[in-house]
């Protein structure tokens, strides 16, 4: 037989017992041909293009799932940043466009559509301003649309005007979706060094340098890695840990590579990238925190957590890079608090704080992700949290992001419930010392000396 019995059993066990799955097939679609002067015309063009271009996305994904026996959890679409598409639009309110995207998403039965986005790391155009102003209304009147704003880059520095504006936008979005614990903010990301081919939500958009349509794949499998590490026991040294993670990451990524190529072929789209991210879900056993704990930490967040995460993140990349022909997207372990049962437990027990999470984002992807904070946190404090995270990304030439939810009416220790993949989260305390003079200075923090690489 061309495969040993053990190899076949291993694959079956990964899928059935350890939650191995393809986290997402994201079809990137260019909307650059949908520009117009009327917001209604744009909305109509976008709806038509999306429903025609992505018509086969869900059927093809289901076909692949059945043939290859590997679940594909999410089917998503990312589009050209809407600020670019709507640049020459007369109207200032772009909510109509978000609503058209939402309708198309529902029609196509996809779960999220990303790209209600603007890239403003160095400054704003008319389209950017209109988009940012429309975010709270757009996110509260739609279900599946995700928004993102790139506010900093290693080359441009940090646009502090955008950072402060986003503090207010996040606050406003939370207020408009107060009846659902501020769920609008779960669909809104502020980035430094945003990538153009990210398949993961809420930060996915189809960058200006991408092809007309592109298939990007996000892999998953924290449960598989967790099992491998637990099986090694307490005596394995770090070299052995890294080796085991690398081997496992290779296998997981190969599954993604196979599905990605097939999906691109059947959809008649270019094959973009495999995103080597380990992404958790709220399901028991599908947790990044549990992997770190399996390495020997009593709780995620204990001293040593950052080092453990660095090892994990690096080994996943090394194994995955061998397995995929094109690696891209965010590629790193995710640490979204509300979407990871182990993180939730650690935060609830007081082992994990925002400050520790911030440190962890220096060595992994992506940033302060799905963190609920008290509803009375000021826009200035939120902006300052964003600025800190942007600084980490800009200096380390990596992508960082903030997806934070100031849960209306909640205080530290309460719980917010989003349901589904977005999970539930304990409200984490935030420093009560103010930063408002700092964030109101305005202008741009210049790019660091590291950016002068030519």
């Amino acid at each position: 037989m061309s495969f040993s019995r053990d190899e076949i059993i291993e694959t079956i066990r990964m899928v059935q017992a350890e939650n191995l799955d393809i986290r997402t097939i994201t079809l990137g679609i260019s909307l650059r041909d949908c520009a117009d002067e009327s917001v209604y015309k744009i909305a109509e063009k976008i709806y038509n293009k999306l429903t025609q271009t992505a018509e086969n996305l869900v059927p093809v994904a289901e076909e692949l799932e059945a043939e290859f026996g590997i679940p594909i959890v999410n089917k998503r679409i990312s589009v050209t940043p809407i600020a670019i598409v709507a640049e020459s639009c007369r109207e200032k309110d772009l909510t109509t466009i978000a609503e058209a995207m939402d309708r198309a998403a529902k029609e196509l039965k996809i779960d999220f559509i990303g790209g209600f986005s603007a890239l403003v790391q160095k400054g704003f155009t008319k389209g950017d301003i209109n988009l940012i102003n429309s975010i709270p209304e757009a996110l509260s009147s739609t279900e599946r649309v995700c928004a993102s704003v790139n506010a900093a880059s290693s080359r441009a520095g940090i646009n502090m005007d955008a950072v402060l504006a986003m503090g207010h936008v996040i606050k406003k979005t939370a207020e408009l979706t107060a009846d659902r614990d501020g769920i609008g903010c779960a669909k809104l990301v502020v980035f430094a060094n945003a990538v153009e081919d990210n398949p993961f939500m809420a930060g996915a958009f189809h960058g200006p340098g991408e092809a007309e349509t592109t298939v990007n794949i996000g892999i998953s499998g924290p449960g598989v890695v967790n099992t491998v590490i637990r099986r090694l026991g307490e005596d394995a040294d770090f070299g052995e840990l890294a080796e085991a993670v690398k081997r496992t990451a290779f296998k997981i990524t190969r599954a993604g590579e196979l599905i990605g190529r097939e999906a691109a072929r059947r959809l008649g789209a270019s094959f973009g990238v495999i995103d080597l991210s380990l992404a958790p879900t709220p399901a028991v056993g599908d947790s990044i925190a549990n992997i770190l704990e399996a390495m020997g930490l009593e709780r995620c967040g204990a001293p040593g957590t950052t080092a453990a995460l660095m090892l994990l993140n690096d080994a996943v990349k090394k194994g995955g890079a061998m397995a995929a022909s094109y690696v891209g997207g965010l590629s790193g372990a995710f640490i979204p608090v509300s979407e990871d049962a182990g993180m939730i437990r650690a935060a609830k027990d007081g082992a994990l704080t925002i400050e520790k999470l911030e440190a962890m984002t220096c060595v992994c992807s992506v940033g302060l992700d799905m963190i609920a904070i008290p509803g009375d946190t000021t826009p200035e404090t939120i902006a300052a949290i964003i600025a800190d995270e942007m600084a980490i990304g800009v200096v380390n030439k990596k992508t960082t992001a903030v997806r934070i939810i100031p849960a209306p009416g909640k205080k530290a220790g309460d719980f917010v419930e989003f349901g589904g993949l977005l999970g539930r989260a304990p409200v984490m305390p935030v420093s009560t010392f103010g930063s408002s003079v700092f964030v109101r200075r305005g202008g741009r923090i210049p790019p660091p000396i590291q950016s002068l690489v030519n």
Binding site: M1, S2, F3, R5, E7, I8, I9, E10, T11, I12, E63, A66, E67, F68, G69, I70, A211, E212, T213, K251, R254, A255, E257, L258, R261, E262, R265, G268, A269, S270, S325
Partner: protein
């Protein structure tokens, strides 16, 4: 004149059977693969472009069927019957039964299968239920990709 012919150029002419481009046009591999999958012939000048050979993904028509459950008489017979009825050839088979736990793995050729793969899976699943075992069928590529470099 078209200097570069990409996947999207071909997509815009999906209904054609033959596409002609002036000699000297460059046709990307992605575009050629797509055209081949839709049965479109591409001419550059007078020259017919050949279908690109998929270096990394040679499609096979094999599947792996795995059966796990409590050992009893007639499991292999039951599963094989479903396969035979649908013209699926068994290429390889291995089975063990340790302490009552039965596992069987088959590599089969589905090239001439009478029903779709999805349908075959359903038939196997039904038979598995009546035998009280779990039956899975997956395309062989999954194992090749995950376990072979």
């Amino acid at each position: 004149m078209e200097i570069l012919v990409t996947l999207d150029t071909i997509k815009n002419h999906q209904d054609s059977k033959v596409l002609r481009f002036p000699s000297g046009s460059l046709v990307t591999k992605e575009a050629r693969t797509f055209a081949a999958s839709r049965g479109i012939k591409i001419y550059v000048g007078d020259e017919l472009l050949e279908e690109p050979f998929p270096v990394n993904l040679k499609p096979t028509k094999r599947a792996v069927i795995s059966v796990i459950g409590e050992d009893r008489v007639g499991i292999i017979a039951g599963i094989s019957e479903v396969l035979a009825k649908n013209n699926v050839n068994i290429l390889d088979i291995t089975q063990t039964s340790i302490e009552g736990l039965f596992t069987m793995i088959m590599v089969v050729d589905i090239a001439d299968c009478r029903v779709s793969f999805d349908e075959l899976k359903k038939l196997l699943e039904e038979r598995g239920n009546s035998l009280s075992v779990r039956v899975d069928a997956q395309r062989e590529e999954v194992f090749r990709f995950m376990h072979r470099i």
